[in-house]
């Protein structure tokens, strides 16, 4: 405990020194820590946002951190220690809502703090429904969906329920080692209407029904906990079908040329975006706000799609999505939001999972142990 506090203090001193230096140069800090998920995703952010931003602001030092998966617990600990070392944090919408409710994230007024679309549309309208929390600055729409080996399966799966058909589609499946997504798919394939899924899951019978459906393939499942595992399992031929984030599958297909096909049926949408921790010193907060305003303008969001197949969160960015920066292929058909891919989709219900996650997760783990 003491030790971490001491370490935090030293970091604070360094940051404070940086801040003092900044005051001589105007009101914005000269260094900024950007936290994200690492991998191809963070690379796309560095190329599309950070590099052009640093070019515009000479002398700015940007530190990158890959702790987004633990953003909530770490920010809580930082706030308890009274010492926040992060400036801009990339989180999923559910985490943004939690952080906002707990007062750990800064509230944002999109119309004054974020850029308008080039045609003058207000930011709040441009982002629309995707602003799910007062602290959340939407960035991308991504989905959790399935990829399959085109060479190992005789027929290509077309429905998410083909996951449960081990006769027509032999081989193991990769599924995430948590209930989110799996429970919904199990119920959909057991004949529950999409609008009743969460009501059904709220009942004990509904949960048992989902488990019963998953039981039919339990012995054929390899469970993953990191998004990078599925592309690897697919590439090794360990599994023939597996779920993961669509961007990971895109890079396996388009960048590495793996014989993998996309199964978009009932893909689960989720949002990802920025938050700024509450209680930053004024100069650092000003820097973070300035960066975020730049990084979420129409052109920048469209630029990110050159590097990874996640859909930009602004309506005005969609027409600007062009070709992949290195491969030169059209990106639009690879977007989860493309009309051809988005025939059957559902939005991950943050609110519902916020309440039932602890409980369902315990039941899910108990089910895994049986």
């Amino acid at each position: 405990m003491k030790l971490t506090k001491m370490m935090l203090t030293t970091t604070a001193l360094t940051v404070a020194a940086g801040a003092a230096f900044a005051e001589g140069h105007g009101s914005m800090a000269d260094s900024m820590t950007v936290v994200s998920w690492g991998g191809a995703y963070q690379n796309s952010q560095v190329k599309a946002y950070v590099e052009p931003y640093v070019e515009m602001n000479e002398g700015l030092e940007v530190v990158t951190d890959e702790s987004s998966a633990e953003a909530v617990t770490k920010l809580r600990a930082m706030s308890e220690a009274g010492n926040i070392t992060w400036d801009v944090v990339d989180v999923v919408a559910a985490d943004a809502m939690r952080l906002c409710d707990e007062g750990l994230a800064l509230e944002i007024d999109p119309d004054t703090m974020l850029a308008d679309a080039p045609d003058g549309t207000k930011a709040s309208e441009d982002f629309g429904d995707l602003i799910v929390s007062e602290c959340f600055i939407p960035q991308i729409v991504y989905s959790t969906t399935f990829g399959y080996r085109t060479d190992l399966l005789d027929t290509a799966p077309t429905s998410v329920c083909d996951i449960f058909d081990t006769e027509t589609f032999p081989g193991k499946r990769a599924l995430e080692k948590r209930p989110i997504g799996n429970m919904e798919w199990a119920l959909i394939c057991d004949g529950v209407a999409i609008e009743d899924v969460y009501d059904t899951l709220e009942t004990e019978e509904g949960v048992q029904r989902a488990f019963a459906k998953l039981d039919t393939i339990k012995d054929d499942v390899v469970w993953w906990s990191a998004g990078a595992e599925t592309p690897q399992l697919l590439a090794d031929g360990e599994v023939t079908i597996g779920s993961t984030y669509n961007g990971r599958l895109f890079s396996a297909i388009a960048e590495q040329g793996q014989p993998i096909g996309m199964l978009w049926d009932w893909q689960m949408f989720d949002l990802d975006g920025w938050i700024i921790p509450a209680g930053l010193p004024a100069d650092r907060e000003a820097r973070a706000l300035d960066f975020v305003k730049f990084a979420t303008d129409t052109q920048r969001l469209a630029d990110q799609a050159k590097y990874i197949s996640y859909g930009p969160a602004r309506a005005s960015s969609a027409p600007l999505v062009g070709q992949h920066a290195e491969l030169g292929i059209e990106m639009a058909p690879h977007m989860p939001t493309d009309p051809n891919n988005a025939q059957n989709t559902f939005l991950f219900n943050y609110d519902w999972w916020a309440s039932y996650r602890d409980d369902l997760d315990a039941q899910y783990q108990a089910w895994l142990l049986q």
Partner: protein, 424 residues
């Protein structure tokens, strides 16, 4: 004159009594010794005893965020004191009013969601109730409310849920037993504390599995390590040094590299299965993502911890003993069982204890190769800590694990005797 010198205390050269002078010298020596060990003592205190102490405390403190629950809900706690949930009736009007008052303060301090999260660990649904009620309750004017119960039920009908109020009442002290209850797979209902359904008891299962697999791994390392250590101790120094490097080389390789290597070897499309198929067998073996994979990978990883103490003990046993036994007519088996083996038990004791305790707390290997049925309790502790943020439960599970290991150590001491354990 001569009488006074013999009766009075013996004096040192400077005239102080000898006893006093000696005591002072000894004290100085002790202080010097203490000063020399001070860096270690402080290090142990700061990096070991304090974190463990704070972990023990976390498992019983009833906090939401940084504050204790009764400090956030002082009025509610006072009003619920008289209330008995077993009557099946909701708390009094005064309790509802107290809830509005406390809730508004908590909302102001952004504590209402933390509070909801705290109660949600026990009763699902409370987190969303607290979160959703936040704004609406904060806008109420307490002075004007005549029927607080109706007002809260108007905000959300879940405020009429008896179980929710029972949970609040059960957790209104500064300290709570609820994390330990959860860790022992019990739950609190309105009727009292009950065990969960047998197929919902995950922590007992994980705890037993962790102990059983760790024991199995310890046995495997012993079975494989014993002959190797004997060979190493028996061979001439030049050859044995070379072999020793082979034992130590994996020891110096990164844990992750070794675990990933096992993944490549054991997976269904992996090296071993390919050879298996090439030999003419038709079914591929499931060697990984299950308990078997964990046992194989961890036996390999922990092997040096068994071989090294065994080797250092065997090195001290003179080979002449075995020769003497045989020249006196013992068969090979008798000589080994009655002469050699008893002398190696201190090494076995040390190795087994080291491997077992390391295995019980292992985390990364079960996570990577364990699949669904090969995970350990440590994986669950990590998940509670970093993903769900339930530090209280993580601390309770950690404390139980610590107690179990100490208990085993005690039993071990009684059976084998810790004095008989030798690292060399």
């Amino acid at each position: 004159m001569a009488d006074t010198t013999t009766d009075g205390p013996m004096l040192a050269a400077d005239g102080t009594p000898l006893k006093q002078s000696l005591a002072r010298a000894l004290r100085r020596q002790k202080i010097r010794a203490l000063m020399l060990t001070a860096p270690l003592l402080i290090f142990v205190l700061v990096s070991f005893i304090m974190p463990i102490g704070s972990m023990l405390m976390r498992s019983i403190q009833n906090t939401a965020g940084t504050e204790y629950v009764p400090d956030i809900l002082p009025n509610v706690v006072a009003e619920l004191e008289e209330w008995d949930p077993t009557t099946g009736e909701l708390p009094s009007e005064a309790a509802f009013k107290a809830m509005i008052i406390d809730f508004q303060v908590a909302f102001e301090n952004k504590q209402h969601t933390q509070l909801g999260r705290r109660f949600n660990y026990e009763t699902p649904g409370m987190s969303s109730l607290f979160r959703k009620s936040g704004r609406k309750v904060s806008r109420m004017d307490v002075a004007e409310i005549t029927d607080a119960k109706a007002a809260l039920l108007d905000v959300d009908e879940d405020w009429g849920n008896l179980q929710y109020w029972a949970t609040i009442k059960a957790n209104s002290g500064y300290y709570t037993s609820s994390y330990y209850m959860a860790a022992f797979d019990a739950e609190r209902t309105i009727e009292g504390v009950q065990m969960k359904d047998p197929d919902q008891r995950i922590y007992q299962k994980l705890m037993l599995r962790t102990l059983w697999l760790s024991g199995l791994i310890t046995f495997c390392t012993l079975a494989i390590g014993y002959p190797v250590a004997w060979l190493l101790a028996d061979l001439p120094l030049r050859t044995s040094n070379l072999l020793m490097i082979l034992v130590l080389l994996p020891f110096w390789t990164s844990l992750l590299v070794r675990t990933s290597a096992w993944k490549i070897l054991l997976q269904e499309q992996g090296v071993i299965n390919d050879i298996w198929i090439a030999l003419g067998f038709s079914d591929r073996l499931s060697l990984i993502n299950n308990q078997l994979g964990v046992v194989i990978a961890m036996t390999h990883i922990l092997l040096p911890f068994m071989i090294l103490p065994l080797y250092s003990v065997m090195k001290t046993i003179p080979p002449s003993y075995l020769r003497a036994a045989k020249s006196l007519g013992a068969t090979n088996t008798t000589a080994f069982l009655r002469v050699y083996f008893p002398q190696t038990t201190p090494g076995i004791g040390a190795g087994a204890l080291l491997v077992f305790i390391l295995a019980v707390g292992y985390f990364i290997t079960p996570e990577l190769v364990g699949g669904a049925d090969g995970t350990f309790i440590s994986n669950r502790i990590y998940f509670q800590f970093s993903t769900l943020g339930n530090w209280g439960l993580a601390a309770a599970l950690g404390t139980i694990m610590l107690a179990v290991v100490l208990l085993l150590y005690y039993v071990y001491d009684k059976l084998v005797g810790i004095d008989n354990v030798k690292l060399g």
